[in-house]
């Protein structure tokens, strides 16, 4: 992706540290002009992302020495808001303010009503409120970087006074990383499944040898490292990460430790797939992917054993398999830094994220029922209730998330940002239709999405979560789509299937629903049409 970087200081050295973004810097101190005069700035069409990275000390100006309200900051936020509103399809990244640790009010800064600390908080809250109002604005927080690395390592006083370069190499590197991770999180490019080994991973020792209560897992010492690791895994599950177990063990031993060791934080219900046996790990991981109906490239596998890791890496290169920390005290921080931030990053957490694990668990129960009934009886027994929502502005995040994440049952695989979805919803020429699913085992939430383009008379996007494959919901969404086209006075619908390496399951969607194939190209693109009666 192409990005434009605007600032009030010299940030050119950061460009070397971006990996996925191709960054072009605006001239020095031109941020205000670029935010407000975009009609004349021809460059605005040249990039998808605007990085507005401002140095707080400059924006605070005299306020840094008086504690007065930083008027320049609030003027900046107005300009930023204006840009976000005028360019809903541009992604905008802005940083929070993090003022220097040492301040003129020294020890009184913590309690004084005109403290810089209070000003800083107020300034940042105003920025975050904008991000909640404008879905195309991503806020990147500088404070965690200063907490982790310290101001002495991140600021560069000599370069600052010589050349208006505020930051050290370390800061440029870490800031570039944070920006790219936040954008990836916003675009929902994260992985989905965390698969865990058990012995010497979730606890110290081997349950089959040390016994369910003899393993290292406690509230102090080494045992606490594993316990805190479990706490973090459980917390990560709350953000929508699917958990699974892949362990060479006896099922009886594993069951016993989960049931009888009261130091365990995780319980068996936290896991959406469990493979405990003596088969090879790659075999079991493939089985888990099949059970969950998710691609291996959405998996992270954590195992303390380097031989097992190597076998997985060589057999299944799509799975991310990190090295395991050699010191157990590093485990909790290692997990956050190397697993959560790079692979399970989130920017906004949706309602579906919160219930994802229960949905997959309900699916397991459904599958068990399905094996005992014939397909028609199974469908009837589910007691499915569907609800359609057309252009619901409060579901923008989830709708964008679905276009970003759905690979298999997706006819055109067009990826859209929240800003794109909002534009479709607000446009007279488009509708965004969401399908909400519930059955007797539980709520699945939004599982289907269609984007209709009335001006072209065609279906721009049509996709379904693979969780509902085989439950007959596809036809019902298409029926709804047809009625919407009909209500616009259209007599036929056009539709396109664009083949990708993953969407074979979507290939028959149109022909099974009485669309006629009009033409097909050699690249796997098919054009369909259906007359509306």
């Amino acid at each position: 992706m192409k990005a434009r970087l605007i600032s009030n200081v010299t940030l050119d050295p950061i460009t070397r540290h971006f990996v996925s973004l191709e960054v072009n810097c605006a001239p020095f101190d031109r941020y205000f002009y670029e935010l407000t005069c975009t009609q004349t700035a021809s460059s605005v069409s040249d990039y998808q992302v605007l990085l507005s990275i401002l140095e707080p000390r400059v924006l605070f100006g005299d306020s840094l020495y008086t504690g007065a309200a930083p008027s320049r900051w609030f003027e900046y936020l107005k300009a930023l808001e204006q840009f976000c509103r005028a360019h809903p399809s541009k992604l905008v990244v802005a940083n929070t303010i993090c003022l220097p640790a040492l301040r003129y009010l020294n020890y009184s800064d913590v309690v004084s009503s005109s403290s810089l600390r209070a000003r800083e908080l107020e300034a940042n809250q105003t920025l975050c409120a904008l991000s909640n109002q404008y879905s195309n604005l991503i806020v990147v927080d500088l404070e965690p970087l200063f907490r982790k690395f310290g101001e002495d390592r991140l600021l560069a006083p000599a370069l600052w006074y010589l050349a208006r370069i505020p930051f050290s190499e370390c800061m440029f590197r870490e800031l570039a990383k944070s920006i790219e991770q936040a954008i990836a999180a916003y675009l929902n490019q994260s992985r989905k499944v965390l698969v865990l080994d058990l012995d010497n991973t979730l606890w110290g020792g081997i349950v089959g040898e040390d016994g369910p209560r003899g393993v290292v897992l406690s509230e102090d010492g080494r045992g606490r490292c594993y316990r805190d690791f479990q706490r973090l895994i459980k917390a990560t599950k709350q953000t929508g990460v699917i958990l699974a177990i892949c362990s060479k063990n006896n099922w009886e031993d594993v069951k016993e430790i989960f049931e009888r060791n009261d130091m365990m934080i995780l319980n068996l219900e936290d896991f959406s797939a469990i493979e405990v046996n003596w088969d090879s790990k790659p075999q079991n991981l493939v089985k888990i992917a099949g059970d969950l109906n998710l691609g291996l490239d959405s998996f992270v596998f954590i195992d303390d054993n380097p031989v097992e890791r190597a076998s997985v890496t060589s057999a299944l290169p799509d799975i991310f398999v990190p090295d395991f920390p050699s010191k157990v005290e590093a485990l909790p921080t290692w997990f956050l830094e190397n697993i959560v931030y790079p692979h399970f990053a989130r920017y906004r957490i949706t309602e579906e994220d919160l219930h994802k694990a229960e949905q997959y668990a309900a699916n397991r129960t459904r599958n068990q029922v399905a094996t005992n009934l014939n397909p028609a009886d199974f469908l009837r027994s589910l007691n499915i209730r569907l609800r359609f929502e057309v252009d619901p502005l409060d579901r923008v995040s989830r709708a964008a998330q679905m276009t970003q994440k759905t690979n298999q049952l997706n006819v055109t695989t067009r990826r859209y940002s929240e800003a794109d979805i909002r534009r479709f919803m607000e446009s007279r020429n488009h509708s965004v239709v969401l399908l909400d699913y519930e059955d007797r085992f539980g709520k699945e939430g939004i599982v289907g999405l269609a984007i209709l383009d009335y001006s072209k008379g065609e279906i721009d996007s049509l996709l379904f979560s693979c969780r509902v494959i085989g439950r007959g919901v596809e036809a019902q969404l298409l029926t709804k789509v047809e009625s919407l086209f009909r209500s616009r006075g259209l007599s036929k619908i056009g539709a396109t299937f664009i083949s990708t390496s993953k969407n074979a399951p979507a290939k028959k969607l149109f022909s099974e629903n009485n669309f006629t194939l009009v033409s097909a190209s050699g690249h796997g693109t098919e054009i369909y049409q259906k007359e509306l009666k």
Binding site: T10, D12, P13, A156, A158, L159, L162, I165, S168, E169
Partner: protein
């Protein structure tokens, strides 16, 4: 371990995107086109990070050649 001299040449080559073979002990902001003022600041950032040293304003302004950078870093490493 590679000598400080070689490490500096590697680093300058990487930061300025100039082939290693085109740089030598006497390369400087006078002789290398990419070694402009921004290029120089990038070199200072990278040298500070790599050798864990803080360059003061005089050092940044004066260390505009490979040989001067080598002297600066060598002095720093000895004083540690």
């Amino acid at each position: 371990m590679r000598s400080i001299h070689d490490q500096i040449l590697d680093l300058v080559s990487e930061v300025l995107k100039v082939e290693r073979g085109r740089l030598a002990e006497d390369s400087s902001s006078e002789t290398v086109k990419a070694w402009d003022s921004l290029g120089h600041l990038n070199i200072c950032l990278a040298v500070s990070e790599k050798f864990g040293m803080e360059m003061d304003m005089d050092q940044i302004e004066n260390s505009t050649s490979v040989s001067k950078l080598v002297t600066l870093v060598s002095t720093h490493m000895k004083s540690r």
